[in-house]
């Protein structure tokens, strides 16, 4: 393999690695959005997921336990979002922001209470690559796709599963209907409340895991800046991916690609652009790609709105 080929493989491997938090968080956003709940607390949930996930892994000595802890905590945030919006009918954006604040504060607080303020934070091991027997031996592709940690595989499978459930099952039809016209779904016996709770909770779980992934792959510990806007970018991704699981997956590839590229150029040097402009790249690129994308994207019709069966002044 020539040098360029080698560079490509290592680049692609990093993209697959960077893909996971984007896919998980944006699929979570999509899932609850498809029932009409517009979650804007991703950044906070991912932070608390990173903190709780780290602590869970650190004290149990098992990364799986850390992931599960983050999943539970994320699910609790999803539950809170569902409760405040679906049951108490409070403004989704306001509640989303409030949960973002809580997540933000809680993540650092938990870490400081448990670990304290130290110059040498404790580390957890990073997720190991688990080569898929046989498949990982395929030239080029095998190394990129089948020599990764298990969450990478899970992420791909999850996206495929979501696609199948949403478009090829009656459950998926009902789920999509809830976000388009909850009253129509309700009038045909679909349990709108249950659907929204379920989607918000599962969505929160995915975001929690997305957060926990970060210390387990990149830093080995929790830092306040660990999420770096990935939560907010996942909202952009949900729009960019047209609120569809398969397109979101493709969009995540692009987002992860930009992130890895910016990092590579910065580390690799040889480019005269100040590194600060490379750091801006993911955010600028997001805005640029959204410009044309929004023309054909049709978000769920009831996105961001609460449904009240007995409210008479809403159609």
């Amino acid at each position: 393999m020539d040098e360029f080929g080698g560079q490509f493989v290592s680049f692609a491997k990093l993209v697959m690695l960077a893909l996971v938090p984007y896919v998980l968080a944006s699929q979570g956003t999509m899932l609850s959005g498809r029932t009409g709940i517009f979650n804007v607390a991703q950044e906070g949930i991912m932070l608390v997921g990173a903190s709780a996930g780290f602590l869970g892994a650190y004290y149990s000595g098992s990364l799986v336990v850390g992931i599960l802890v983050a999943m539970v905590v994320g699910g609790l945030f999803g539950l809170a979002l569902a409760y405040f919006t679906t049951t108490l009918k409070m403004d989704q954006f306001v509640i989303g922001l409030a949960l973002f604040f809580v997540g933000l504060g809680l993540s650092t607080l938990l870490f400081k209470i448990a670990i304290g303020v130290t110059l040498q934070p404790p580390l957890i091991p990073t997720l190991d690559a688990v080569p898929v027997p046989g498949l990982s031996k395929i030239p080029v592709l095998g190394d990129i796709l089948f020599n990764q940690n298990w969450l990478v595989y899970l992420t791909v499978l999850l996206s495929a599963l979501l696609y199948y459930v949403m478009y090829q099952t009656s459950f998926g039809l009902a789920l999509r209907a809830v976000g388009e016209n909850p009253k129509a779904a309700d009038s045909l016996g679909v349990n709108v409340t249950l659907m929204r709770y379920g989607a918000a909770i599962v969505g929160g779980m995915l975001m929690g895991v997305a957060g926990a992934y970060l210390p387990m792959v990149y830093t080995g510990t929790f830092t306040e800046g660990i999420v770096r806007g990935r939560g907010w970018l996942s909202i952009a991704l949900a729009f960019f991916g047209g609120w569809s699981p398969h397109l979101i997956f493709l969009g995540s590839l692009f987002f992860a690609g930009v992130e890895v590229l910016a990092l590579r150029v910065q580390v690799g040097g040889g480019v005269s652009i100040p590194y600060q402009f490379l750091l801006m790249l993911p955010y600028v690129a997001t805005i640029l790609v959204m410009m044309p994308a929004l023309k054909w994207v049709r978000p769920p019709a009831f996105l961001g709105r609460n449904y009240d069966r007995e409210k008479r002044t809403s159609v």
């Binding site: 199948y164 478009y167 090829q168 099952t169 009656s170 039809l173 009902a174 999509r176 209907a177 388009e180 016209n181 009253k183 129509a184 779904a185 309700d186 009038s187 045909l188 016996g189 679909v190 349990n191 049709r298 019709a301 069966r309 007995e310 008479r312 002044t313 809403s314 159609v315």
Partner: protein, 547 residues
């Protein structure tokens, strides 16, 4: 499946039988299929239903008659599980049942067609119909059996639809068929229809009534909600009249005369003999005031106007008409034929793609809404919640919307608080808006009161032209009467009114001339002397030639 069970008879046989058979007498002796007893429902401080009872027989079309706010829809929403009643019992076949959600209603074979169709616009017809029912996966979603069943039902009841069409591409008449098919697909025995004729032409109404007869003859019971006496008299076996959340009586169609039903709808306080609304029912065609003998100068001239919709397609396609001083010009048509776009282009909300609009000899084609509202035009929008109402503001803030820069309310850019409160208090009392006062939150208003705010805003400020789009939607009968009298007063004082309405009876009652809008084109203009409901109905469905 009992409904498809009558395979041999077929739709036309059913239909012929239906028209000539009156199954009233024999069904009276049986036990009612459904009874609602002493249903009570309150919203906040408002008592919407005060111990209402209703009994529905087998194989009957039962009319629920009453003005807006009478509680008809609320009662049926209780039956369908959308509203939880505060008190009362529901008995099905004599046994008490609990209906906590539409799911329960469906499992008891009760179906409902809402006035505002409950459909997912981006889904196909078949997806809308099967939604919420279990479907086979093998491994892909298999809709073929559903399509087949829908096809059979459609054929039996004269409700043909294209199962793969997207809902948003369909006309109102077809969308209603989808709603009815949704219920039939679930094998309902009791079907509730809420104001089903709102969006239909007179011909489509007749067709619907035939379909209803076919259903009843196939063993179903139908509850039919309407505020139109003529409709219940032509299709219902028995009629229950509701007024202000209470049952007035239930009578067979032939057990009372029209006068009795009318008086029951409006109550003792209102003098039916003197009312505008029922003047046509009395055969008094001269009401309201006759048109001016001599032609008056035009107030509004619309010339070759074209307007595009959101998709860039022509929604109004070359319309030309004039509305004169002292005239009420009506625009008839089924909803969605360009009425909204026409109104919004006159109001300066939508740009014209072609043509010209002139008010009082001044071209206003490119005028801004804010300037038109200054003494030229006032507007009652069709969709009050979306286009006219500020839910999180106060009642006073709602009442000055659009007029907040008038010198009465505004000095050097500052609002004149006292003047606003005083004017609002006056409007609240004149237009009988039920609220705690000008500073009350607008969210506390009921639908009818929100409509009164729309009316107050449009009628209390001076204007050369009033553009009223479905102005009486949601109003009870005395309020409708009030609005009609206000419109007549405008007419007598020589001002022009453009009345766009999907209620043909309203147009026939109020207008001097009626033009009909079909797919963005004006397809006919009739003078009052030539008004013919069925002819307008034909024009509403695009048939222009022949009588």
């Amino acid at each position: 499946m009992s409904i498809i069970g009558c395979e041999s008879s077929g739709f036309h046989t059913l239909f012929t039988k239906a028209v000539y058979s009156k199954g009233v007498a024999e069904s009276m002796v049986e036990q009612p299929i459904l009874q609602m007893k002493d249903i009570r429902k309150t919203f906040g401080n408002v008592v919407a239903l005060n111990n209402v009872s209703l009994s529905l027989n087998r194989k009957e079309v039962h009319g629920l008659l009453g003005g807006n706010g009478a509680g008809k829809t609320t009662l049926m929403n209780v039956l369908y599980g959308l509203y939880k009643p505060d008190a009362g019992d529901i008995l099905l076949d004599g046994e008490k049942i609990q209906i906590r959600s539409p799911k329960d209603a469906i499992s008891h074979k009760i179906g409902m067609v809402h006035q505002h169709f409950l459909q997912v616009d981006s889904f196909s017809v078949v997806e809308n119909i099967v939604l919420g029912t279990p479907l086979a996966n093998n491994p892909r979603l298999d809709l073929a059996p559903a399509r087949k069943k829908i096809g059979q039902l459609a054929e039996h009841f004269g409700l043909e639809v294209e199962t793969e069409a997207r809902i948003e591409d369909l006309s109102m008449g077809i969308r209603q068929r989808v709603e009815i098919l949704k219920a039939l697909y679930r094998g309902v025995k009791i079907l509730i229809l809420d104001e089903p004729t709102t969006n239909l032409t007179p011909q489509e109404v007749d067709h619907l009534f035939h379909s209803l007869r076919a259903m009843v003859n196939a063993g179903m019971s139908v509850a039919f909600i309407t505020h139109k006496l003529r409709e219940v008299l032509s299709v219902c076996d028995r009629i229950t009249v509701l007024r202000q959340g209470e049952t007035v009586f239930t009578l067979g169609r032939s057990e009372a005369d029209e006068e009795t039903f009318v008086q029951a709808m409006v109550g003792e306080e209102m003098d039916v003999g003197d009312s505008l609304i029922f003047s046509r029912q009395r055969g008094d065609e001269s009401q309201p005031a006759p048109a001016a003998a001599e032609p008056q100068p035009p107030t509004l001239r619309v010339q070759d106007v074209c307007v595009l919709n959101e998709a860039g397609l022509p929604a109004v396609d070359g319309c030309t008409f004039t509305a004169h001083q002292g005239e009420i010009l009506g625009i008839a048509g089924v909803a969605g034929n360009g009425q909204l776009e026409l109104a919004e282009s006159i109001m300066g909300i939508r740009p014209l793609a072609a043509g010209e609009i002139i008010i009082n000899d001044t071209p206003v084609s490119t005028a801004k809404t804010v300037d038109l509202l200054q003494d030229l035009v006032t507007y009652i929008p069709e969709d009050r919640l979306q286009d006219g109402y500020l839910p999180t503001a106060t009642v006073a803030q709602n009442l000055i919307l659009g007029f907040h820069r008038k010198p009465t309310y505004n000095r050097h850019g500052f609002l004149k608080r006292r003047a606003i409160l005083q004017a609002s208090a006056e409007l609240i009392s004149e237009y009988n808006i039920i609220t705690q006062g000008p500073n009350d939150a607008a969210a506390n208003l009921s639908g009818g009161n929100i409509q009164r705010v729309m009316i107050a805003r449009a009628l209390s400020y001076p204007s050369q032209l009033l553009l009223a789009h479905n102005p009486t939607r949601g109003l009870d009968i005395p309020s409708m009467e009030f609005v009609y009298r206000k419109l007549l007063a405008r007419k007598e004082s020589g001002q022009a009114t453009l009345l766009i309405s999907e209620d043909l009876d309203e147009l026939l009652l109020m207008c001097d001339r009626i033009a009909t809008l079909y797919r963005g084109k004006l397809v006919g203009l009739l003078k009052r002397a030539d008004f013919d409901k069925y002819q307008i109905g034909r024009m509403m469905s695009g048939v222009t030639n022949g009588k």
